[in-house]
């Protein structure tokens, strides 16, 4: 098994997991304010595409990432306006945005780059790889943890930051309150819609970063529908992690690992389509173990009994 579970497998796990983790954190913060954001997939796709567009026109990676964040942010404002302001069904809005994103990116790909299917340009610069001093010299661990894009490291810092924000700060506390019992929160003068908008915008930023990592970190290109379900996997990671940043990281790691493993297994003469099923089988099995353990159910149960 040594050659199967070597350092590069774990390194690629980290790379694969970053887009999922970033989006799942966005999904978690939305779930915490009571908005189940099915539109993660679309938001990542928008981020991935606009990162390439930014890269192509500015030639600057930082500007490209900022443009990705900005575009996903704009897209998430649509989600927020529809679901918070117009009180549309969040699931419907999310699905609509996913299809909109798919169509929009495919169309723009042809309109801007005049290509079909994929855009690649050798002049484009991907995200830099950071070697972490000291860490990179540690055998094995250095191979796994060092040499990733800044977004990989940022995502881990974000986990810690969000965990602190949600459970240790006053604003985070109010955010949790708005999700748990919006009526009660409103009756206390907490501005629930403002908090919901905030959460949706943060989600937009995170999905923009996820998209940038996808199109500039893992590879340096954009292909139609290149998210290929990562947004939905992120959604599952959100639920599995109980919308808890640390928990979300753990479940994202599981999916990222299965993702990396499935690619690795292709080298062992296993059919591609079989190995590609692996992450999803694990998802279903994981859901079985976590049935009715969510904090939302818990809240709902106790709400019922107190009526």
């Amino acid at each position: 098994m040594d050659f199967l579970l070597d350092a590069s497998l774990f390194a690629s796990t980290l790379r694969m997991v970053t887009p999922i983790l970033l989006a799942a954190l966005g999904g978690a913060i939305c779930a915490r304010v009571g908005l189940f954001n099915v539109g993660l997939e679309g938001l990542i796709l928008i981020g991935a595409f606009s990162a390439i567009v930014g890269n192509h026109f500015t030639g600057n990676v930082l500007a490209a990432v900022l443009i990705a964040v900005l575009c996903s942010l704009l897209f998430s404002i649509i989600f927020g306006y529809m679901s918070i302001h117009l009180k549309a069904n969040v699931i419907v809005v999310g699905i609509a945005l996913n299809f909109l994103a798919l169509g929009l990116t495919t169309f723009s790909l042809r309109a801007i780059f005049d290509v079909k299917g994929a855009y690649y340009n050798k002049d484009m610069v991907g995200l830099p790889k950071w070697d972490i001093p000291l860490l990179k010299d540690i055998p094995w661990l250095g191979d796994v943890l060092s040499g990733h894009s800044p977004l990989v490291y940022l995502s881990i810092l974000l986990v810690i930051g969000l965990q602190y924000f949600l459970f240790k700060t006053v604003t985070g506390f109010r955010l949790l309150a708005s999700g748990e019992n919006p009526t009660a929160a409103r009756s206390l003068g907490i501005k629930v819609s403002r908090i919901q908008y905030g959460a949706v915008l943060i989600c937009g930023v995170l999905c923009g970063l996820a998209g940038a990592q996808l199109s500039l970190g893992n590879v340096t290109m954009f292909t139609e529908g290149m998210t290929s379900g990562r947004g939905f996997i992120a959604l599952v990671a959100t639920m599995l992690g109980q919308s808890n940043p640390i928990g979300v990281m753990a479940s994202s790691m599981l999916f990222g690992f299965m993702d990396a493993l499935s690619i690795r297994l292709q080298g062992f003469a296993l059919p591609t389509h079989f190995t590609m099923m692996l992450p999803y089988i694990v998802t279903i099995i994981a859901m079985l173990f976590f049935k009715d353990k969510g904090y939302i159910q818990e809240a709902r149960k106790s709400n019922e009994s107190s009526r």
Binding site: L176, A177, E180, A184, A185, S187, G189, E304, S306
Partner: protein, 499 residues
Amino acid sequence: MLLQMDSITKSYGSVTANSQVQFSLNRGEIHALVGENGAGKTTLMRILYGMESPTSGEILLDGKAVSFASPADAIKHRIGMVHQHFMLFPTFTIAENIVIGREPSKGIGFDRKAAAAETERIGKLYGMPVDPWKKVADCSLGMQQRVEILKVLYQGAEVIILDEPTGVLTPLEVKELLVAIKGLAAQGKSFVLISHKLQEIMEVADRVTVLRDGKVTGTVDAKDTNAEDLSRLMVGRDLIHISRNEASRGKKVLEVAGLSIKGAKTKPVLTNISLHVDEGEIVGIAGISGNGQSELIQAISGLMKTDHGVIKLLGQDVTGASVGSIRERGLAHIPEDRYQWGVAKDATVTENGLMGHTDRHQKLGILNGSGIRGMVSEWVSRFGIKTGSLSTKAQFLSGGNLQKLIVARELAQHTPFLIAAEPTRGVDVGAMEIIHGELLKKRDEKGAILLISSELTEILKLSDRILIMYEGQIVGELDAESATEEQISLLMAGGKAVG
């Protein structure tokens, strides 16, 4: 005078919820606000709490005109409200629930230790101790009520509005609450108390204002009035004293023998329950809520699986049968929690009335709309259900009116057996009178009724026989003629029957 509401009028389109209402409150006073369901009490208090703005009229606080755009404004002016349905966060701790909105902080951090200390301090100060670190979901309803009041006090309220605070409490918790309110009033806090329970009002209130159809029909000193005068002001006429006819018992309708449910916890939920209800009698089950009554009715109506025992309806074994088939054989059920079991909130009055009556009003699967509307509108007029129209959504009806709709619907099944669980919870005296009258009428028409109620007066008024439940067992059976409230209370609390 601390607070004055002057000529408050509130209209929604053509409906006037409050008309020229005058209401005042002195410092340290407990001022009760009573009236039938839909008389406009809650609307008036929502205006005071900034949740609604009045169409005309003004609010004076310490003689100065104020207007509240939101509850936050009202809180700033030291007005707090405890809602009928608790506004709590069940997965949060007591301390978190109390300090929310004005949390003690360290930088951007939420200082939970300080919150707990502060909670402990005000709990002691106001004589309502709580465990700050306990989750609200794990608290009894009485404790949750206490958390609500402490929250309002923590916000600095001088005027506290209590909307039906005792509706869900056990008799002991009610007593504690009333003592606490009196104590706070003695410390200078002022209370507006909305309640249907005239006895409680007579016990604590200094003054009483009665609303009927949005207008004030009288403001009186509590010491110059009595429960009967108040109900006359509320209903606008004298209440008819329901006379009970002699019970004429027939054959057994419901028989339960040796019924037990183990339940998930270590204590069994129901232990060896045996009872029977005969034609033409009302059997009342008294008990503090949570002693197995809910499980018993769920078992009888087929909603809950049983472990041992036999349930027979009209001589047929229905143990483990489906809800549908039990109802078909002759059971109607007024459920205890109207929102969870009784109605679909988003469905209209007509649709809610139709539930369970679909078979009678269909031909080849097509519903007969006019027949259904005729049936429901007959109920609306007979029970005096206040609703905008037949197509109003159930969620917009007040609790009492919803309850009347459910009672009408279940009585219209004309089944030999009826379970009536808390049939008048949250219902005003006028509606209570109608519901009680209808239940007794059903009994006189040879119906068998199993009545479950946490209101002793209701049990004593309606029942022919009284069973008392304690910790999942029937601990006593009393004849309604000779039973006294003391006897029942003692058995309900787990004591032994005397005499």
